[in-house]
């Protein structure tokens, strides 16, 4: 229920968009709760995009984890 799946916006159609979940699965989702553009990655829940995923932030988080862990260990 609170499950949300990440996918990529491939086409915008007014308040809906086609989201590609990879492996050939694409679905139309409602985008009225987010401001998105083609190419954005979103979390989809119950047929709605609920938030944009920040790819850069994702990479930085991992780098940060590694850094924190090495510091805490000292």
């Amino acid at each position: 229920m609170c499950l949300a799946i990440p996918g990529k916006i491939v086409k915008i159609l007014n308040d809906h968009a086609i989201v590609d979940y990879g492996e050939g699965t694409a679905r139309e989702v409602n985008i009225s709760l987010v401001r998105v553009k083609k190419g954005d990655y979103v979390l989809v829940h119950a047929g709605f995009a609920i938030e944009i995923i920040d790819k850069k932030e994702a990479k930085e988080t991992l780098d940060l984890f590694k850094k924190i862990l090495s510091e805490e260990g000292e």
Binding site: M1, C2, L3, A4, P6, N30, S32, L33, V34, R35, L43, H45, A46, G47, F48, I50, E51, I52, I53, D54, K55, E57, A58, K59, T61, L62, F65, K66, L69, E72, G73
Partner: protein
């Protein structure tokens, strides 16, 4: 997001957690967290490191009350179309589930989201279509978006939306178990942000970390909680920064405010929790099935609906027991023949425990 499955990093974090050596008790409130914990065997790894993590009331279908299911059953019997999520439809009530009613010929539809229910209403203009709107803050704005978009007049909702922070407070107030920290639900938090949790850390001096759903996320969140405890901190930290920001989704919050008021609400396994539910504002009465069908629903008002006999979902939802503590688990109660909602829902801890059973 393959890099969130980095095994070396996972091992490093686990090593740190192990070396900490403290016995700690955490609670999360999310079915997807439970799934990650059990599926990847993290629950056992944590236990062996002295960390116990229980689920709490984090399954929207499970905390929906028998009365709410009975409301839908009654309306279905009166010839209306009831639409809801698959898990909700399979939860047993007194005389079976909505799914059983479907087998008897009543019009019950499984939908993926509220928009599908609206489409059913458009296709069936001569019928009343009721969407059983369950879900936490993640789902509530999807209901709002539809209500604000003027769905057809033969469409209404039975609002069962509930909000998480009020339940966390209640868990602490009830004082039935000693908790050292909360792992907060990532997807609820994409909507509400980090601030609505702050009063809990402030008032109850308890650390909280908002977590993502990959094994690394949970490992890191546990490590962050331990760090807070060691440093005698009690604050809200955000591990899931790739999807959650401090302010949350402002569009979603705005539509929630426009459509709903906060109401006191009973949760399965809990007493009525102050301001823990959402109900449509008066100006949307024509979409509020409790108002539209007030007369029909009246008969349920005085009745009291108890939990299924022998089912311990209430204690599970309060984090007091594990599924295996229920004598019916896996014997009389299985996903094929569930007795309580925690065995039905893929977010319920009994269902998850059964699916990934180790023997």
């Amino acid at each position: 997001m393959l890099y969130f499955k980095d095994k070396v990093l996972a091992k490093t974090i686990l090593g740190k957690i192990r070396s900490n050596g403290k016995k700690l008790n955490f609670m999360h409130v999310c079915g997807t967290h439970q799934d990650t914990l059990v599926k990847h065997g993290l629950d056992t790894l944590f236990e062996n490191s002295g960390i116990n993590i229980c689920q709490g009331p984090g399954c929207p279908v499970c905390v929906t009350t028998p009365l709410e299911i009975e409301e839908c059953i009654l309306l279905a019997k009166k010839g209306k179309i009831i639409a809801s999520f698959g898990d909700m439809i399979r939860v047993p009530s007194y005389n079976g589930s909505l799914q059983d009613m479907k087998a008897e010929g009543y019009d019950i539809r499984t939908v993926y989201g509220i928009e599908d229910a609206v489409n059913i209403a458009i296709k069936n203009p001569s019928k009343e279509v009721i969407f059983m709107a369950v879900g936490f803050e993640t789902t509530a704005p999807t209901t709002s978006a539809i209500i604000l978009n003027e769905p057809p007049e033969n469409f209404s909702i039975l609002c069962c939306h509930r909000t998480i922070p009020a339940a966390l407070k209640t868990i602490l107030e009830m004082g039935e178990l000693k908790l050292d920290g909360f792992i907060e639900p990532g997807h609820v938090s994409t909507i509400i942000g980090t601030k609505p949790y702050e009063f809990i850390s402030r008032e109850y001096k308890i650390p909280q970390v908002i977590s993502g759903f990959e094994p690394i996320d949970l490992l890191m969140s546990v490590w962050m909680l331990i760090q807070q405890i060691n440093k005698k901190n009690a604050k809200v930290e955000n591990e899931y920064v790739r999807a959650v920001n401090e302010n949350g989704n402002l569009i979603a919050q705005k539509v929630i405010k426009e459509t709903f008021i906060q109401v006191d609400k009973k949760w399965r396994g809990f007493p009525t929790i102050k301001k823990s539910g959402l109900e449509l504002r008066n100006k949307f009465d024509k979409y509020n099935c409790r108002k539209v069908f007030e007369e029909e629903l009246k008969t349920l008002k005085e009745k009291e609906f108890l939990e299924p006999s022998g089912c311990r979902c209430g204690e599970l939802l309060r984090g007091l027991i594990t599924p295996q503590d229920c004598p019916l688990f896996g014997i009389r109660c299985t996903p094929e023949k569930p007795i309580g909602p925690c065995m039905v829902s893929i977010e319920g801890s009994c269902n998850i425990a059964y699916m990934y059973k180790k023997d």
